[in-house]
Symmetry: C2
Subunit: 459 residues, 2 copies
């Protein structure tokens, strides 16, 4: 990077917040993407850590003037290489912008982009509230969660990230600061630029602050593990639960071998001996009695549809342990994983999709373990390593799975997003016109294409 630019950046944020030594920014060059598909970072970058929106604006104005690429960065917990610098440029870490304020009267949180999900959950809890969204890694930062419209297990009752966002402050690549939305439940003042930016993965602007909706704290929650000998029955249960009037916080689908593997990694024991497939259902309500009643309803439905005896976890410790084992599956599989997919289909088609993936697995002799969000139609098949395979062969498998999902009314990514590694597959589920419109929108916001320009290196 040009020395003059580095000096100018130092002038904006202060010397100590501009890092050029590659050894001091190793952790900023990566994310949680599986190694075999992870883009190789370009290392001719400078890491900048602004403290304020005005500093972010000044950095972007400079970058826009000089046509320097900028890679905004949150917690680096993404799974699609979205924040990895793939060109010479500036890594813009929002970590120092970590202010948070709970507005009790409006049941909202005003949160700077660098606040972690863990911190938000903690502060909400202290104030007597609850922030439901939980994409797994609590080190994720708010800016990234919104930019990527994060999902996770706890989206069944109250939705994905988009549903909580009431306002954002965003700095455009051209440096203007926009305040979109507000502490508002209703606002119909023209096109929703806010909803356009949610999920745009840092390509339209840098989110610096957000107003998020909070929920009253649940009084009780219970986690049920419901075992099935026949996995299709697990999926048959899901719509029946909703139809009965029960909307749990989470409904996860997992399989025995994965939960045992994940538990072992954590030094824990998976408590369920029976069955091969499970639903993990978290029931949480602000009324204690309602929780018990809903669990009864769920148990009855499951029993009618061939489930085995459910395990009920009531203590906080037990419940956290189950969720921990579930959350650790990715890390347990990661060393042998080529790619973790994130297909989504209409919930009623999940069973069919799993069958289709099993066929692909058998036909090609590749192990494809599957788990995911049974309430949301969102599955994570892992394409696992096969001795001697080329990337070409894996690509064929990936494409077959994508096509199977699309054929069932689905998309190639439900929550992880496009990032660097799914761009070339987008046309499987988007029309040419949609892609053209997106490209033209990008040009309006970012005429010099400086924000997350996303030139993917050959893998």
């Amino acid at each position: 990077m040009d020395e003059k630019i580095v000096r100018e950046l130092e002038g904006i944020v202060g010397d100590e917040w501009v890092i050029t030594d590659i050894e001091k920014m190793r952790s900023y060059l990566t994310d949680e993407t599986a190694e075999p598909v992870k883009p190789i970072p370009v290392i001719d970058v400078v890491l900048v850590k602004p403290k304020s929106t005005e500093e972010v604006s000044a950095i972007l104005k400079l970058a826009n003037r000089e046509k320097i690429s900028v890679f905004p960065r949150g917690g680096g917990t993404g799974l699609v290489g979205g924040c990895i610098p793939t060109k010479e440029g500036i890594i813009l870490s929002l970590e120092r912008m970590d202010g948070i304020e709970i507005d009790r009267e409006n049941l909202m949180a005003v949160v700077e982009a660098g606040v972690t999900l863990g911190k938000l959950m903690e502060e909400a809890d202290k104030a007597g509230f609850f922030f439901p969204a939980h994409p797994g890694d609590e080190g994720a930062q708010i800016g990234g969660l919104i930019a990527c419209n994060a999902g996770g297990a706890r989206a069944v009752k109250t939705g994905v990230m988009r549903n909580y966002v009431k306002g954002i402050e965003v700095v455009l690549p051209t440096g203007e600061i926009l305040n979109l939305g507000g502490k508002l439940i209703k606002s119909n003042t023209g096109y929703s630029l806010m909803h356009l930016i949610i999920g745009s993965e840092g390509t339209l602007g840098v989110i610096t602050k957000a107003i998020l909706k909070l929920y009253p704290k649940f009084k009780t929650s219970i986690t049920m593990i419901i075992p099935f000998e026949e996995r299709h029955n697990a999926f048959r249960v899901v719509p029946k639960i909703f139809q009965s009037g029960v909307i749990p916080l989470a409904i996860e689908y997992v399989e025995k071998d994965l939960m045992e593997k994940s538990a072992k990694r954590l030094g824990l024991t998976w408590p369920c001996k029976e069955g091969v497939a499970y639903l993990l259902i978290i029931v949480a309500e602000t009324d204690e009695e309602a929780v018990y009643k809903q669990c009864e309803t769920i148990a009855e439905i499951c029993n009618e549809l061939g489930a085995l005896e459910p395990l009920i976890a009531e203590s906080r410790r037990e419940q956290e342990e189950i969720l921990k084992i579930r959350s650790e599956i990715y890390m347990a599989l990661k060393p042998e994983t080529i790619d973790i997919l994130d297909v989504a289909v209409p919930p009623a088609n999940m069973s069919k999709l799993i069958d289709r993936i099993d066929e692909i697995s058998k036909k090609n002799g590749v192990y494809i373990p599957i788990y995911g969000h049974a309430g949301d139609g969102n599955l994570h098949p892992h394409i696992m390593k096969v001795e001697g395979w080329t990337l070409e062969q894996y690509n064929t498998i990936r494409k077959e799975i994508y096509k199977a999902a699309v054929k069932l009314g689905g998309v190639i990514t439900g929550e992880h997003g496009v990032g660097a590694i799914r761009r070339e597959y987008l046309s499987l589920c988007l029309s040419d016109k949609e892609i053209t419109l997106m490209k033209e929108i990008k040009k309006i916001f970012d005429p010099n294409n400086i924000l997350n320009p996303g030139k993917v290196l050959p893998m």
Copy 2:
């Protein structure tokens, strides 16, 4: 309209669905906007009623080729003149596209644009489900509800229209048919063109079909009328209810004189003798006991904050009567109304906004009755007729109210939208850059500016 164009339109939809006789299209030239601010329709128009998406596409291709304005139209229940033809062109009524299909397994409805809200509610009910959104007039059509991101009283628990939309089929002004989203709970495949189109008021594309989320049917609902001698106490109650963990279906704010006036118009009696201001709270749950418990919690909170004895309506008839009286306020006030405003502020600022509007009312000697959605921060002040006033004088009042809302962190329209009559005030709550971005987005979608071009005639 050019005869050749009329013939071509007849070729697309059939002779009987092209109407050129102005007497046969009177009801298509208007909406529910208050008369004094309603745009005067241009009558050099042709009314076209397509039956299919392909016909809509052919009409738009023709219009785009010939640069003819197109005014898409649903139930005509809007309050801001959004569908009134303000240029020579085509009125595109979607009324014949009225197919509906309930997907029980995915808890979704697939609905063509011309289906009325009433029809959707009925079909959902028959299938054992519930569609919560209720902007008042059940003659509103789905296409319009989505294009205008409708709100209404029942948005407290499950949100405004945007929250229910999972997929849309939309025809662009250039004729392409896009299918955005799907029967999907999660989808992160690039910029959300769907959310951009929701709330774009028929300026970016013509919505022809939608996939909407349904909810399990509530087992019981109770409507509480809670009287207050001092209206600020009513607003103080609202956050306390949420904080207690109760999220009602609706929390409405109304005043005694308006409810009595509205009841009288309907030949009914407003049942509440005490108090001057009320909260109408609808509590609805899939569990009967929970409803009673929540009502108790609400009653306790209200009692602590100075409410008088609440009236409880349990029978369906009683509850419907109360809602009917509430819904009729607009019609009761309409003959003397200059403009019904739709300001929205952070919910905790509603009390302040009402005080501010009262000051404006007193200072200027104009009667400004107020009611609205206390759970959403959304109020409807009516600017009422004053003998001998000019439009100029009313405009001053309107602008003062808008400025008061914006100063309190609000916007000029929460749910009614911009339409023809609020365009000139948009800059009070949007920055120049936001407006520029919106104009540029419009150009991408509609290069010839044919869809709802919105040239407002001088009033």
